[in-house]
């Protein structure tokens, strides 16, 4: 290539990073702005879009916290998500340890089975759970929903703890075992303390996954187990009350807090989860 052909190329090329940066910023805006647009609306009197400072009010939040139906839905969601994420964490940590270090037949099959709910369309799982609940008479029960959401959150915990396990030096476990510690003792005293961050991140994301989950909760709901997303879904569908703006704002802030917490802990769960999806 001669210098003359390289030169105009250089000038065009210099523009490439800038053009792609501009595009990238537009896409960031496309990703972030929708959730932000909801915030000023939630702070208006009756759900209209306004930047008028004089008309800011907490009216919609007052409506939310004054409504028995919304509070019941929020309370249900908190209970289900807490129970389901604790269950998923308790089951998921030892499972991830077994997947990383164990030697038993069918290990990779079991691992695939535990992770696969992440890759199967939720609607298919929800339909199956609906049939199962109908066949066993467990429809609309709190326990059913908790178990279903524990299954749904389990892959998140397992993925995060598995990626945490790559940072754990197997030599420490071997040393403990050589000195006569049982596998259970090695797990509790040597491995668990090193996994604190992954475990906490796994718990957080299992919680958020359950708290935001609509489809399974929609199929399994009964009069007493309507969760916040289910209530929100049917509200948007049938009445479209401005209170939804207030709920959306709170949910966005929750997601933001959870992500920030996870990033501060040094975990990058989204990347892990999405990479697993490859």
């Amino acid at each position: 290539m001669t210098a003359t052909t390289a030169r105009p190329g250089l000038r065009i090329g210099a523009r490439l990073p800038r053009a792609s940066t501009v595009l990238a910023c537009l896409v960031y805006a496309y990703l972030v702005v929708p959730s932000l647009v909801v915030m000023p609306i939630s702070l208006s009197e009756a759900g209209e879009f306004t930047f008028d400072k004089a008309r800011l009010s907490l009216n919609l939040f007052r409506q939310f916290f004054g409504s028995e139906a919304w509070i019941a839905a929020l309370w249900n969601s908190l209970q289900v998500a807490t129970a389901a994420s604790i269950l998923a964490t308790l089951i998921g940590i030892p499972a991830a340890y077994a997947f990383a270090r164990g030697r038993f037949c069918g290990r990779s099959t079991v691992q695939m089975l535990v992770i696969s709910p992440m890759f199967v369309p939720v609607i298919v799982i929800a339909l199956g759970l609906y049939f199962l609940a109908a066949a066993t008479g467990q429809q609309g029960r709190f326990t059913t929903l908790v178990l279903a959401h524990a299954m749904y959150g389990l892959p998140f915990v397992v993925m995060l703890v598995l990626s945490g396990m790559t940072q754990v030096d197997p030599a420490l476990e071997k040393a403990a075992m050589v000195m006569g510690a049982s596998p259970a003792r090695v797990f509790v005293q040597v491995v668990l303390p090193q996994l604190k961050i992954s475990i906490f991140a796994g718990f957080l994301f299992a919680f958020l996954a359950s708290f935001d989950e609509v489809v399974i909760a929609w199929f399994l709901n009964g009069p007493t187990t309507i969760t916040l997303p289910v209530k929100m879904y049917s509200s948007i569908m049938w009445e479209n009350t401005p209170v939804i703006a207030a709920v959306s704002t709170m949910l966005t802030l929750l997601s933001f807090a959870v992500c920030l917490l996870a990033m501060m802990l040094g975990a990058n769960p989204g990347a892990k989860v999405a990479e697993a999806g490859r």
Partner: protein, 276 residues
């Protein structure tokens, strides 16, 4: 290292995985078996059921909708995700964290919030139309149609597309790019003949991932689309809870599963190739 070969130092740990295996069996595998079992109805056999579903005008239209919306969404998502992945990769430390947060927060925001936001933005009296009217233009019909569904869905799927592309960009050997630059290639040329071709496996993986995920979408088409934009998940819901035809619902669900399985298989095969 000799110690690792001694059998007592290789615990089986099967018991550690048992609770998780039980949960997966009872709450994932068993429901799947139920779906498979319900494809055989009490009055209609499997073949009759399949014939009826295959002959149904509604199901056929919904299937075409699903394919069209999913392909478009996957294409748009990958197209928009690429510059972001490129941008994130170029950032250092703090800015990288900031950019990743900008991607991760929408990734973990409820799909309901995002769908509601687009109702607010695209609606008849939404942000865009209000602004247009305030400036003396006419408003557009942007809601309850395919456009709204694709906008809402690609918004949800872009983060999923970013990570595989980012992974394939970050895995590249930077010295090849440097070599290209040293030899006088313009940044544009370095990008098109070195960076981009090497990132194609990641792009394809992102595309297939988006395709699989979008096939199962439920909330966005229900809230942003019109009757004519129903997708397979919506028709499963319709058959289960309104028509009460559990057999057809199961057959459609298995069809969806089959499709996603084939696509996911393609993703895995690709990953094996990339991971070589």
């Amino acid at each position: 290292m000799i110690a690792t070969r001694r059998p007592e130092l290789l615990p089986s740990l099967a018991l550690f995985a048992t609770p998780a295996a039980l949960v997966a069996l009872c709450l994932f595998v068993l429901p799947m078996i139920f779906v498979a079992a319900y494809t055989v109805g009490e009055e209609r056999g499997l073949l009759d059921g399949v014939r009826e579903v295959a002959g149904s005008n509604l199901v056929f239209r919904v299937f075409l909708n699903t394919v069209h919306i999913s392909l478009t969404t996957a294409f748009v998502s990958v197209l928009l995700a690429y510059p972001v992945a490129l941008h994130v990769m170029r950032q250092k430390r703090l800015w990288k964290a900031v950019c990743l947060t900008l991607v991760l927060v929408p990734f973990w925001t409820s799909i309901l919030v995002k769908s509601y936001a687009f109702i607010v933005i695209l609606g008849e009296r939404g942000v865009i139309n209000t602004a247009l009217r305030a400036w003396g233009f006419e408003g557009f019909d942007m809601m309850f149609n395919r456009f709204a569904v694709i906008v809402g869905m690609s918004n949800a799927l872009i983060p999923f597309a970013i990570f595989p592309i980012l992974a394939s960009l970050s895995a590249q050997n930077q010295s090849i790019q440097a070599a290209g630059e040293v030899m006088g290639a313009s940044p544009m040329r370095v990008f098109w003949s070195i960076t981009f071709p090497q990132s194609l496996p990641g792009v394809l993986a992102a595309f297939l991932l988006c395709l699989v995920l979008s096939m199962g979408f439920f909330v966005t088409p229900a809230l942003l689309g019109g009757r004519q934009d129903m997708m397979m998940a919506n028709v499963i819901d319709l058959y289960t809870r309104e028509v009460l035809d559990w057999q057809s619902a199961s057959i459609i669900a298995l069809l969806l599963l089959l499709f996603c399985g084939l696509l996911a298989g393609a993703v895995l095969k690709l990953q094996l190739k990339v991971g070589r």
